[in-house]
Symmetry: C3
Subunit: 435 residues, 3 copies
């Protein structure tokens, strides 16, 4: 009780300290131009607490109209201190600290240049730690609509919260989390919805069954990573134990602790077993790479943004201009593995097995078959080379030309070069080859 | 206000003009035989406005009992004139005018023969414009349950509206649109449901967020194609601009016009980029076709309903008896491309990227790998032919027999021929070959 | 009316006969330790009818605390006789009688040993009838979370019903059925939800549209197999007709019987047509097996739990360590076929066609392409062997070693052997080969 009182008192003080001029330069025009936004704000707690437009957006009218001023998480954090700190130490904001997450279009909150998220300090060399190099090959539009629309959660509170209202019921809905936590790469929304937890919730909302926030945002904490022991390396054993114990406390409000513990341990094991299947696939892809059996070869691929003329199968693996074998492997680690592991932690048998384990095993079989085929064709080629060496000079010259031509055609199709540039490049190439 | 009054007055006049004999020949029996239907109608506005069974079904009892009388859109249109006209100019009814949509089982509303939808007038030659040739290889049952169940929207209002009631709330539900607008080929329901728009709607219905009808059936219009600029050729620039402006007016009731405009332009670009990836795949399939590397070859396939003994990779492409390369291409253009483009227009990052862009790129890689493998096997074969030509006559005779036998087996398995016919055909073949 | 009275009377008598000591040894502790469970029970009809903890769990405190006492369906059946009998003759409990379903971890309800579900009586030989041999290669954790979580329905009522409450509204929800009846292997939840039936239900619950229980648990019957004619062999024609008539009675409460009948007959035909496509794939896989073109070969695979060193493509087919051709076939019969057939019976055009028929046909094309490629590589190999026989002894010795090494590496990756065991086995192998 005393704690609750202190909290309310602290919040009240905070609100007072955050108040800004209520007489706002913006409202006169925006009442006409964006009445929806003004109406949302008018009915919000921000309005009644005298948090005005400039409190959040700042007083620089030009910057706002040019969209160079953005309300980032740190601005919200000036008042919502605890939520901001919680968020900052969670995976939701991990791009800010570790270089994870795609940060190409990153807007810094403090005027600091965004370069450091992709480049070594004071250098144009890309940072090796930027795992998001995976996505560097994207167009600006796909980055905006396909990547940033979710990854902006790193420093934008309105990824989950509505913009000008303060009713948190929208953000608390599991479907709000699901706008990002869905689909082939991590289907948490679908897993939960079709698990017993989700069905109970559907029947009677939070009184009846747990939603995302029940287990992952206990008591309103914005550290969504609390209680998740997977991903913590085995060496940090104590931390793993602490996080597991934290989650078991939550489970225990409905289940016996022993039953919950067994269930999470099963999921741990399923994680290890699924990881072993992925590792087997990884080793095979590495073997094929070393045997030079992957098409396109390193020479035939565009330069990798971080590793140059190399076939990259590790965490910085791209998902274009790769071989069929790599494509199978990519789907295994990014899609099927995720379904198996996260399906088990969300107690969803169908995701664990039919969306996870089964396609993992089927894909490994397909990968091995592909490898066997590539190898047997290669053996035939070598045997044939022994009997009757092919005239490589002629052969490769013609195949080089073919490749160069196809490359120019591809670039035109993709819109990298115009029709005119295409004709010029093609003519130049034909002339060079004396054709 | 005056407009609303005019509308009500017009509707009232319409209803009066549509009234038919209230004393209906049908009710006496159908009260007993189909009480559900009669009850739906009794509580409907049709009933209170004296629109009776024969008003819609006509007075030919035999035709109705034999199911040769069908209530098509034009019948509803006699009273619901505006809705019918709107519908007729929309994509929903496009099969009626352009030959799009599968029209094999088409029931004409005016006694006119349906032949003209598939055949050139006065000829048995199939129409090249009938894009639905794609589906011509279907069984009658699959046509009915798999194709027509959705494509009947072309001339049947009860595809969306309930049959004998007049409560339009069923038709207005987004899930009603979703019975067809879902799944691998165009997942609009899923995209919307897991977008912020869908989550807002879920929270507070139409007061809170937009559903299908909010953006695509403004003010109850039945021209569902209004505001959709994609699909309009670039040459018709003015029309494209008009439709885009129409949609931006709708967006503007919640968003700033500039923000909405940027978002739709991003989606335009994602459409172009995705289309370029599909085009690259198309070119590669065409190359493989010209290099005669696709299996089954044109000779080994059943005759294409429109183009005969040819491999068709354009809009009339079939999706059976094709090669693995074509299968990858088909999935790219019919599934992944749709997810990328429609995902972007429905502001769903997961559909845009993970269901769209990523599998598009992965599939293109797989297609290129497949092509490389087919080509390298072919090179080996040619090199081997140079060294030691195979006795083609023997070889191909035996392989021909094998193919013919397999073809007969396939036909039996599919139920095209009976067990008895199979034995006869097999025996005849063996005799012909002197075996 | 009289029937209803009799039923209520019978239930009342039953309840009295089932009463047990209300003074329960468990409550004193469990009020503290598992208050949620006690609270659920306290508010249940069980509590008011004096069905106490020991009535269901028995009085053996140790067995309960050690989790060796389980409340199986037969215990519930002591009071809920009709439900238990219905359940026992339905497919939901089929594992108990026919050996279907994975029964490795089976807990018998009558003290009888569980061996007989997997082994011939009095023998350690596995039963050939145990179709679940398919799943024998699973880890204990995957069995528990991925298999048993659903298949426990065979003898556990709390698979669908909540454990300590007696409110049946949870079990009646379609989403409860959907926790198992969803996903790639049988997506009944998704099919129904996006069919007109599902949309009507969403609009007004059971008053408006049918849910799972409306059609499959008529009048509360727990024989969920009633009315399902598919799966009944054609020879049992009378039974098929009876079941179909049973379902048509249900359909007839909303639809004309003739319309419903036509719709189910269409689905029957779609079942046959889809089955023919799968059979064609099966024949082709069998051919490839006989031509020894599947990789891994029988010798290279782990021993099949039922059929030893053989490639098994029938009902006991595994889905790991198989060839790409078998993987395509597995997806066809387990995923696409199910979507086509069940989609048709649930009146969902998208599942029937786009999730069912289209991928069935595309996959068959891919399988035929794979076969053609394997065969043409094999032809090249044989031609080359004729020209210049390879030194098989050397070749196969080196390839044998490679395979053995890879096998040990695989086992380490999977966690079957420890790092230490791996080193030992590897060293032993190298020594044996004189390396």
């Amino acid at each position: 009780m005393r704690r609750a009182f202190c909290f309310v008192f602290a919040m009240a003080s905070l609100l007072v300290s955050c108040q800004a001029s209520a007489k706002d330069i913006c409202l006169d025009c925006h009442k006409e131009k964006t009445p929806g936004i003004v109406s949302y704000w008018s009915e919000s707690r921000h309005s009644s607490e005298k948090i005005s437009c400039v409190s959040c957006h700042g007083g620089d009218v030009d910057a706002n109209h040019n969209r160079t001023a953005t309300v980032t998480a740190s601005k919200c954090g000036e008042c919502h201190k605890k939520a901001f700190i919680d968020h900052s130490v969670s995976r939701h904001s991990i791009g800010l600290k570790s270089g994870r997450g795609c940060t190409r279009n990153f807007e810094t909150s403090s005027g600091q240049t965004g370069c450091i998220f992709c480049h070594e300090e004071g250098s144009s060399k890309p940072r090796v730690k930027t795992e998001c190099a995976m996505f560097l090959a994207q167009t600006p539009e796909m980055q905006k609509q396909g990547c940033d629309a979710c990854h902006r959660v790193e420093n934008r509170c309105d990824t989950c919260h509505t913009r000008h209202g303060t009713d948190i019921s929208f953000a608390r809905q599991p479907q709000t989390c699901g706008t990002c936590h869905m689909g082939p790469d991590h289907a948490q929304l679908e897993m939960w919805e079709t698990s017993t937890h989700g069905v109970l919730y559907r029947q009677g909302k939070e009184k009846s069954g747990p939603s995302c926030v029940t287990c992952h945002m206990k008591a309103g904490s914005h550290n969504v990573s609390r209680g998740i022991a997977t991903g913590i390396p085995e060496s940090a054993e104590l931390l793993r134990k602490q996080e597991r114990a934290f989650m078991l406390d939550i489970c225990s409000s409905c289940h016996t602790r022993s039953m919950a513990s067994r269930s999470l341990e099963d999921a741990d094991m399923i994680g290890k077993q699924s990881s072993a299947i992925v590792s087997e696939a990884f080793s095979l892809v590495e073997e094929l790479k070393n045997e030079k059996l992957l098409y396109p070869s390193a020479e035939e691929r565009p330069i990798h943004p971080l590793f140059g003329r190399n076939i990259v199968t590790g965490p910085h693996m791209l998902y274009e201009n790769i071989s069929a074998a790599e494509s199978i492997y990519f789907r295994m680690k990014q899609f099927h593995y995720m379904n198996a592991v996260k399906g088990a932690f969300h107690q969803n048998p169908d995701y664990t097995h039919w969306y996870g384990n089964a396609p993992l095993k089927l894909s490994l079989s397909e990968l091995k078959s592909e490898a066997a085929l590539l190898r047997s064709v290669d053996v035939l080629k070598k045997r044939l080379d022994n009997i009757a060496p092919s005239d490589r000079s002629d052969d490769s010259a013609s195949s080089d030309l073919k490749k160069m031509l196809r490359d120019i055609i591809d670039r035109r199709l993709r819109g990298d070069i115009s029709e005119k540039e295409f004709q010029e490049q093609k003519d130049r190439l034909m002339k060079e080859k004396g054709l």
